[in-house]
């Protein structure tokens, strides 16, 4: 059978030529003229994600998920595997890069109003991708089995336990028992290398499929009404293939290079293995600092109910509101001047998040700021 015959035979069975033609048509559709280099941001996130996958693959080939050997296997990756230190560093720094890029992407989308009809699901899928990344950050943090990771996981699962309704069951299921131990490590490992990546891949596929199908959002049109509906894509700009894809690829290349640079200049050092006492000054990653600081404010009991469980309603609702933003912010207006209310609400939320993050970062610390040493209490107030 000739090569051609083989492809024909496959096409009869799979119908790949039709699928390719449809995709090509969608990708060749001119995108709104305002779609310039903004796609580089999404490309950067994709590039970093790809590097996370590759480095994760290398790390998983050397990592051993058991309390006895996890810490030593990570030490071996760092010190004896050729380039192991770089993969390890890239993988850890990549988390921060991914979360930061996803948040920037969300800000860009919100400001341009690109989350609005008909692209609500694009936003929701993107938000879920971010949640999967956060899940990967939390599960991956435990894997080196350092004392710090052990105790921060213990604390995190303690918060999960206080979550309303399903909290205790979820915490027990995640921990595989009453305390963080070998079962927790196995569970976090399988979540980190199989469950969450699969989920992330599916959500990302949905997100990208929606971007391809619905196209990029048009800019603020002269006539707001004209921007409604599927057919509203103002034509005349570049197409996905090849222009926008190349810009995204350029973004990915620069992001990967930047990540490699940071990772190479700031590789992780040795850290004590789990088994020690709870370290002082336990603090989550920057993107969880606001949550960390907010939960400190919860009193022991509120109206006869466990205070923490009640307090958790606030971040839980905020997270739900973030994921479902397009359904809350329903006005079709894209021009910023026509969206004063939603802008004000989101700005207030972002300010609260930022303020809590700063308070969380300085709380229980002595810092040298503006040439003066200042001490801050648990609530981040200067002492």
């Amino acid at each position: 059978m000739s090569w051609r015959g083989l492809l024909d035979g496959l096409d009869v069975r799979l119908g790949w030529r039709e699928a390719r033609a449809r995709a090509a048509a969608e990708l060749a559709r001119p995108q709104p003229a305002r779609a310039g280099w903004g796609v580089a941001l999404g490309g950067a996130a994709l590039g970093v994600l790809g590097l996370e996958a590759l480095s994760g693959l290398v790390l998983a080939a050397h990592y051993r998920a058991s309390p006895e050997s996890a810490h030593a296997s990570v030490a071996a990756i760092r010190d004896t595997v050729p380039l192991g230190w770089l993969w390890l560093s890239v993988h850890a720094w990549g988390t921060h890069a991914l979360v930061a890029l996803a948040l920037l992407q969300a800000a860009k989308v919100f400001i341009s109003g690109a989350h609005k009809r008909p692209r609500e699901l694009t936003w929701v899928a993107g938000a879920l991708v971010l949640f999967a990344v956060l899940g990967l950050a939390v599960t991956g943090h435990l894997l080196p089995w350092t004392n710090e990771a052990f105790w921060s996981t213990s604390v995190r699962l303690g918060h999960v336990e206080s979550a309303p309704l399903a909290g205790p069951a979820a915490a027990r299921l995640l921990r595989g028992g009453d305390d963080v131990g070998a079962a927790t490590l196995s569970r976090f490992y399988i979540l980190h290398v199989a469950v969450l990546p699969a989920l992330l891949a599916a959500l990302l596929a949905l997100h990208l499929r929606l971007v391809r199908r619905l196209g990029l959002a048009p800019g603020v049109p002269a006539d707001e009404e004209a921007a409604r509906g599927h057919a509203a894509c103002s034509e005349g700009g570049a197409a996905w293939l090849p222009q926008l894809a190349l810009r995204a690829a350029a973004g990915a290349a620069v992001a990967v290079a930047a990540l490699l640079t940071v990772a190479a200049l700031h590789p992780p050092g040795p850290a004590a293995a789990a088994g020690g006492p709870t370290p002082a000054g336990l603090r989550p990653e920057w993107f969880f600092l606001a949550l960390f600081q907010f939960l400190k404010l919860a009193p022991a009991r509120v109206a006869g109910l466990p205070g923490e469980s009640v307090a958790q309603l606030v971040p839980l609702l905020a997270v739900a509101a973030f994921a479902l933003l397009p359904f809350l912010d329903r006005s079709p207006a894209r021009r910023l001047s026509a969206r004063k209310l939603s802008l004000a609400v989101v700005a207030a939320c972002v300010f609260a998040w930022g303020a809590l993050t700063v308070l969380g970062a300085v709380s229980d610390r002595e810092l040298r700021l503006f040439g003066k040493t200042r001490a801050f209490d648990t609530y981040g107030r200067p002492r």
Binding site: A72, A75, T80, W85, A272
Partner: protein, 452 residues
């Protein structure tokens, strides 16, 4: 004169009180002569010393107890002598009494003369005739502690007092009646009398240096006996003092606890060899084991011993390079023997330096989270090889030392390589600029292509 007055006053008090002496003649005098002349009969026996009839005086409703039982003494004496009684309640003597062993000593066992019914002649230890007086202590303790059967019941040696008597301490006290010799209670507290295995005991190995040092570290005490007062301090700086927890000898480990003698030079190698097996074996088999020194003045011949290079109390490795310092005592410069010593000395110094470096490397690998099992095992083998080498050095053969060193160097190199892999040096970052050039070239290409 004063004593006489006291006696008279006391006699008056007892006479007034009464009637006990009517039936118990001869008890009054010892009490009056004792350290407690003013004590009345009822102080110890209860009952009523004013009663006219014996039955009234001995009535149980008057709480008459007759002769105080062994355990009752401490309660009674302890009313005033609190510290002593308190110490005694923790002593093995009380343990023995509780187990029903009559040999368990109570207050009167040591504080009363045996001639009268015990307790009536309580005497202060300052009183030369008292059983607890310094010159009498050995005899007092020996009443029980030389009794093989009694001691066997408590698992205590019965030859301690005998050995003490034969040694210089016992000789000073018992024969010379010297004022500064130690008695039993100088090392074994008089009232708590803890076993020497009890860390609270002044005779416990961990406290021997301190206890012996009270006299042996004091120039004023040692000088009249012609002894050095610096030996305890030397011992305290020795590896033995640091290794007490792992069974290294304290003072008694070499001198014996009760006999306290200076071990004769002919016994030293065998004695050290009880722990330092390899070195003692190699030494005995080597030329030094057969060497004899003759004193040029007296003509007295003495064999060489461990002390010649290591010192007795300091018990140190000779400091490197030790050839001139140690070998040079007997071997003249330029002789082949001294040259061999120099070679062995430098082999020893190099090997120790290698081990220090390798252990440092292992520590660093451990601190980085590596279990370093292989390297650790190989290093333990090297430590063992070093033990063998240092044992071998006592046979003073430079050839054997050089051969062992060659094998050591080969193995040490392998260990250094295996551990060194776990402690990487600075990372090579020269690829970073090249990567950026490549990426920027790609970005330019993409930009051009997207505009084409």
């Amino acid at each position: 004169m004063k004593r006489l007055l006291l006696l008279l006053a006391a006699a008056a008090a007892t006479a007034e009180a009464g009637t006990c002496t009517d039936c118990h003649p001869g008890v009054e005098e010892p009490v009056l002569a004792s350290a407690h002349p003013q004590t009345s009969c009822t102080d110890c026996h209860n009952g009523d010393d004013t009663a006219a009839e014996m039955t009234d005086a001995h009535a149980t409703e008057k709480k008459f107890i007759g002769r105080p039982k062994a355990l009752e003494w401490a309660a009674m004496c302890g009313d005033c002598h609190r510290e002593a009684a308190q110490a005694w309640t923790a002593s093995p003597h009380l343990d023995a009494l509780r187990k029903g062993d009559p040999a368990g000593a109570t207050c009167v066992s040591c504080h009363a003369a045996a001639a009268t019914p015990s307790g009536h002649s309580l005497a202060d230890c300052g009183d030369a005739g008292a059983p607890s007086a310094r010159l009498q202590v050995a005899a007092t303790c020996a009443k029980c502690h030389a009794d093989g059967a009694a001691m066997a019941r408590s698992g205590v040696r019965a030859d301690a007092v005998e050995l003490y008597g034969k040694g210089p301490h016992g000789h000073n006290v018992l024969e010379e009646k010297a004022a500064d010799g130690p008695s039993c209670v100088d090392c074994h507290d008089a009232h708590a009398s803890p076993r020497s295995s009890d860390p609270a005991s002044a005779a416990h190995p961990s406290r021997q240096a301190q206890t012996c040092g009270r006299c042996h570290g004091d120039e004023k005490v040692m000088k009249p006996h012609g002894l050095s007062h610096g030996l305890v301090a030397k011992y305290e700086g020795s590896p033995h003092a640091r290794g007490l927890d792992s069974g290294a000898p304290s003072c008694a480990g070499c001198h014996g606890p009760h006999l306290v003698r200076v071990p004769p030079v002919t016994e030293i190698v065998a004695h050290c060899g009880r722990c330092h097996e390899g070195p003692a074996r190699e030494f005995a088999a080597g030329p030094h084991g057969k060497a004899v020194r003759t004193d040029p003045q007296t003509g007295e011949a003495t064999p060489m011993s461990c002390e010649d290079c290591h010192g007795a109390h300091g018990a140190r490795r000779p400091e490197s390079p030790w050839a001139a310092r140690s070998c040079g005592k007997c071997h003249a410069a330029g002789t082949p023997a001294l040259a061999d010593g120099e070679r062995l000395s430098s082999i020893s110094a190099d090997t120790r330096a290698d081990l220090v470096r390798l252990h440092g490397l292992l520590e660093r690998a451990r601190a980085r989270g590596h279990q370093a099992g292989e390297g650790c095992e190989a290093l333990a083998a090297l430590d063992g090889a070093w033990q063998d080498m240092s044992a071998l050095a006592h046979g003073v053969s430079a050839e054997a030392g050089a051969m062992a060193r060659t094998a050591f160097v080969r193995d040490a190199k392998a260990v250094e390589e295996s551990l060194g892999r776990l402690v990487p040096g600075p990372r090579d970052l020269r690829w970073l600029p090249a990567m950026w050039a490549f990426v920027l070239a790609g970005v330019v290409l993409m930009w051009r292509k997207s505009r084409a």
